[in-house]
Symmetry: C2
Subunit: 580 residues, 2 copies
């Protein structure tokens, strides 16, 4: 027995007890005849008092026994702040060399150094809280779904490569030379097979893999809460997972989210927020003003399919310099606008605009009114192709919301986006892609268009697909699936996947559908991001115990790495990379 | 809404209600004016009554609405057996082609066919029960460990190849050409790093991978309950996981296992049961009779290091033929004995033995007494090198226990094996191997031998290592780990791993130990086998939703498979296997 109590446990009521603690030395303060040591473990910090000046260094692991005393100067900031331990006996369990950075709430170590010594960074309170939250959320998810009759069923990690969508990680098979397994990008087909197999309600918190060029805050391996249900319609799925989210918020954070969670069609989301994942913590909605701008001789607007605007509250006093900066900001390639038009709604009721030349005060007033701008607001206008311009306005809106402090990470505004288009036309490839994935069913009332050969018919087919959005981030999504073999074949046809190709890649699921597949649907949440957002953070890295960097490397273990020639030979593989 | 109730839900108290069910057609019985259909889902079976003879085939998915009636001839075998639904309206949700085998408690399909159509085999009640049990056990594990303050922390799947022990599956890195990740054989090093990081109590139900030539009932991917604790001694670990097992047995099976679970040293287990995983559901222990056999002129015994025996209850009437068969059985290469000596303890008090020539009745009586044989028993004797002969006797003991019906899968006899030797000498390789793994600590009282250079000293070092054994199967094991960098280096030295090699493969963990690693220990359970044994089965295959066959293939999805040349090129790989 190494300890009688943890370092977070003792209170004034324990006064007089003889206790043994074990943990890490956080700080040492020596006063010659006496040394104060803050001893830390996962549960808290307790002050130890030693006679004299024993050898003591940061991160030493010690075991100390002594009596619990009442402190003369109490520390109200920590739960153990009323007491201290007068140490009568102690052992070094392990000494420590000096850590390369400070292990405190805020560290002095740079990102690379902390990544290399991840096991030391993980000692810091913010990371301990992040992983504790992740643990709590995982248990809440499982308890909720277990209580709803879901079965957690493990699906395989060594599956088959299906190069539709993102790139697979592959695993050479030694026992089947020349052949490869793939790591799953998601258990999509397996969960659908479980529905065919009659399991009715399935879930799994499961690792998924995607060999993509890593954008910021993407990981090659990530975790999904993966769920599927049989004999359900969209309404059943949304209600079930609203319940899950509500429970998670309530039990893990003590936060009660809106009931019901608002829903918005994809088309509305694009029109009003310029995004399929709107941040509805604040308004500042996008308004179309195309009609109001026509026929005033301003060629830029007249030649645009769409003119739209947002009203930024209280920003009418923006200076020339600020407006120039904003114009440069929207012209960056990340936004891609050609320019920015503004209308200042001055507090005195007048308007000042960069297009005064073409539009009189009444015209400007009408535009401002269309945007629900009030005196003191700044109207920002972009124009161009409709969806593209809306998207730019959406980006601008989020930026302005951030500048105005509307994006408080402690405020939670969840939202369902519904009625997605089923298909997305790629001009570049001259073909349709599935907006969600090729197993998503068209809405029953749109099936007539789904079987049409006309592009415009196919473009207006909607799916019973849905995304769960929180604070402008898509946390999850799903759909009602195709459960009919003929409809699935039609889907592959629409996507330009040949029968041969479809049979090779998805033959087993097409075949499975012939044996009585039930109507089914489901969804998946990105668990890493769920944890980050619940934790009030924008990036997922601190919510993953051992993340990889942007080159897909784990710099702590120095992986990936070269392997032995013996291993290569056993796998019947040769590398085409030249050494050096 | 596809259904108002499941197929397992309705009772006589629901009589008169109008309900809607959805499910699969299990059986159809037509009587011209009336058709009876058993409708099945995960929750049960309900009888439907249709007017006339609608088209209805096995495994059709239908939705049916009607009134709940009391049956005239009730079926007491199923919970819904008192009622039936008089169908007034129904839809085909999906028709089915005729399934390739019967989907019932016992199927008429062969193993290969059922593997190919796994999603149909998974509809059968025994597999549904198996996966439901697995789900239940997973939740019980998590609830117990969560309640004990353990944190579930996910460790990475893309790690680094460390070719010590079994062969790794590797994953080529496209972004780091020529380099590979490895899939983890276990999260061993990561969980130890989590202890270094101060997480104190960790667990995970996690997939592990081993590229081994598959013996019967091994899978290339398998699931572990993986746990680790800090500031613990062996006693703390054993108590914690006894509690877990007790909770699992109680909550999932309603079975109360012995409290405390018995413990046995590895040496005792070998001496008494000839196995490090004894089946203690029955006695029939091994007894050494070497001393009693010496000096009677029987060269075979006199020339043997060890003579041991078991007493088989009530088998003294074995015929010549039965004894010959048994002799052949122990001579098979799987057992490897050179021959078998028997002593019949006749019910009249006399003895009859194959070694009557050398040993008189009193000698035989003494041997029988040493084995605690009673009148009517059959004593079976083997001789040779000590451990090898004990192992053979152990195999024979289990075989005889099985023949006598002592191995009831509904009886649960758990056991801890403790005090394992730390090291195992390989004559073949002329080096020591770690009996558990290279991170296992020697017992503190044996450290003096651990630092000795003498082989015989190293051989007697014991570890605080432990295995959890149930009914003759090892379900899990673990140890108190080394937490001292110098001791870990010594371990690598003893195992003949060069400093260079150790640094390359384990540098990050050796380094981590320099920064205040706490004393820690843990264990892992093989979850697939836990589920199988709890389910009263010997094989794990039915407790895994989508298992692979003995060639490591998933025949349902036909994986592994060839991948595109584009993928190979992106990975900078060439296959040395010639096509065709």
């Amino acid at each position: 027995m190494y300890r009688t109590h943890t370092c977070g446990e003792l209170r004034l009521t324990d006064k007089g007890k003889t206790v043994t603690l074990a943990g890490w030395v956080q700080t040492v303060r020596s006063f010659g005849s006496m040394t104060f040591v803050d001893l830390r473990d996962r549960y808290g910090i307790t002050q130890l008092v030693f006679e004299g000046t024993p050898e003591m260094g940061r991160e030493y692991v010690i075991q100390a026994t002594g009596e619990v005393l009442e402190r003369s100067s109490k520390n109200p900031k920590i739960p153990t702040g009323d007491i201290e331990i007068k140490v009568t006996e102690f052992n070094y369990l392990n000494k420590s060399v000096t850590p390369p950075f400070t292990i405190e709430e805020k560290s002095d170590g740079g990102e690379d150094l902390r990544a290399k010594y991840r096991y030391l960074d993980l000692r810091r309170p913010p990371l301990q809280r992040a992983l504790a939250l992740r643990h709590r959320l995982a248990q809440e998810v499982r308890n909720y779904l277990d209580g709803q009759g879901f079965m957690e069923i493990e699906t395989p990690y060594l599956i088959k490569s299906t190069p539709e969508g993102a790139r697979d990680f592959v695993v050479p098979s030694r026992m089947n030379p020349g052949q490869f397994y793939a790591l799953p990008q998601s258990p999509q087909t397996f969960k659908q097979l479980l529905m065919v197999a009659g399991y009715d309600r399935y879930f799994q918190i499961v690792r998924c893999f995607r060999d993509e060029d890593l954008r910021a805050d993407r990981q090659p391996e990530f975790t999904q809460i993966d769920c599927e249900m049989s004999f359900v319609e969209q309404e059943d799925v949304l209600n079930m997972f609203e319940g899950m989210m509500r429970t998670m918020f309530h039990n893990a954070l003590g936060v009660d989210i809106p009931n019901p969670i608002p829903r918005m069609s994809w088309y509305d989301a694009m029109d009003r927020y310029g995004s399929d994942k709107p941040d509805i913590r604040f308004g500042m909605e996008i308004h179309e003003i195309t009609g109001l701008t026509r026929g005033h001789g301003f060629g830029v607007f007249d030649g645009s399919e769409y003119v739209g605007a947002i009203a930024v509250p209280g920003a009418s006093e923006y200076t020339r310099k600020q407006l120039d900066e904003l114009t440069e900001w929207v012209k960056r390639p990340q936004v891609g606008a050609k320019g920015l038009v503004y209308i200042k709604c001055n507090t005195d009721g007048t308007f000042k605009s960069s297009i005064d030349k073409f539009y009189g005060p009444e015209d400007l007033g009408a535009m401002a009114a269309a945007c629900e701008a009030k005196a003191g607001d700044l109207v920002l206008v972009l124009c161009g192709a409709k969806r593209k311009t809306q998207t730019m306005l959406g980006v601008l809106r989020v930026e302005m919301g951030g500048r105005l402090g509307y994006r408080d990470p402690k405020v939670f505004a969840p939202l369902w986006i519904v009625d997605f288009p089923l298909l997305e036309w790629s001009e570049e490839d001259g073909r349709f892609y599935a907006m969600h994935h090729p197993f998503t069913a068209p809405k029953p009332e749109h099936e007539k268009w789904f079987y049409s050969d006309k592009k415009e018919d196919l473009e207006r087919v909607c799916a019973n697909a849905y995304d769960f959005v929180l604070n402008g981030t898509e946390l999850g999504g799903g759909s009602i699936r195709i459960h009919d073999a003929a409809m699935q074949s039609r889907m592959f046809e629409v996507l330009g996947i040949s029968k041969e190709d479809a049979d090779y890649k998805f033959g087993f699921i097409i075949n499975a559908f012939k044996f009585g597949a039930p109507p089914h649907g489901g969804l998946a949440f990105g668990f890493d991001r769920v944890c980050a957002l619940f934790g009030g953070q924008e990036t997922i890295r601190d919510f993953i115990a051992f993340p990889k960097n942007n080159q897909g490397r784990d710099v702590m273990i120095d992986s990936p790495s070269l392997i032995d020639q013996v291993q290569m030979d056993e796998l019947c593989l040769e590398s085409t990379v030249k050494a050096g």
